[in-house]
Point group: C2
Chain length 200, copies 2
Amino acid sequence: MAEEPKDSVRRGRGRRPAVEVREAVLEAAGAMLFESGLTGITFEKVAARAGASKMTLYKWWPSPGALAFEAYFGAVESTLAFADTGDVERDLTAQLHAFVGLLTDPRTGHVIAQLVGAAQSDTALAAALAEHYTHPRRLLAVERLTRAQALGQIHADVDPQVVVDQLWGACYHRLLLPDAALDAAFADALVRNLLRGIRS
Amino acid sequence: MAEEPKDSVRRGRGRRPAVEVREAVLEAAGAMLFESGLTGITFEKVAARAGASKMTLYKWWPSPGALAFEAYFGAVESTLAFADTGDVERDLTAQLHAFVGLLTDPRTGHVIAQLVGAAQSDTALAAALAEHYTHPRRLLAVERLTRAQALGQIHADVDPQVVVDQLWGACYHRLLLPDAALDAAFADALVRNLLRGIRS
């Protein structure tokens, strides 16, 4: 059994502020997630790596899955940020290129597929995925689309929520039910089809 | 242990033609899939229920997962058939209503989510999903879209494969990463956005 790391915070470097501990825990969980996947994430292992108390983790996260999703969300947030050049087609395309890059990176792509997959038969994990990943990611995309809509670049009667499924959801489809290439050309086609319409 | 059902075919009703046995096996596997999910599918249990030899199942399917996907595909095929009234918007909408109905039916929706989820960390299952479900389903949709394209209803430079991800893939997104309603109104919006375009 590994030594209980409960006291290492105080012993090693004095008591750290909670916000720093939280950050260290999320960083450790993110790194471990990319190294060994979801099954590698336990409160005990993450606490040991972050030099934090296991009890603290139990207090802050309802489950290792919830911690894993929050760590994943934090790790990919900057990669998936939206530019706002005023050109909605260019901005969506650039963001989708970054997203496709993440989904096809052999490290991150497999992890997110595994996380989503595991959530399908684990209700606690599904709740954590929705709260700490799906919902906040969706909000960021809806915000960017709503801004374009306010500027009159997107029809007023279009529901931005549906657009999210037709851009990012389409990418998840090629990740989770793979049968066609998930690449930058695909991202370009998604934006083009949707903005211009496919009807002759 | 259950009695080995190897001889029941001959004993009970004489030797059935292979095509009938195959059909009985797929029917049994489909019913068991909806009753107890993917974990309920073993060659032994399906063979017993279909009155077939377990060895036959081993010969015909590389794994219980492959059998499960073929059974699922067969079970939903007629529900998901494409009409061809000549009106591509109406036909796509009708088909997507049926698809959304399947994904939101408490019996079938959970099963498909489970199947896709399990495939994310099981390469044999992933191969079976791709071969016996994803690829043939995609082909049927691409055929219908290509017909519309040939009639000049869809732009010649649109890749029907991408359209599949923006209609059916968008529905899978709301099933697998749920955060917004998966219903007929959503299906309508998917078709409308894509056919007409969302740009002002």
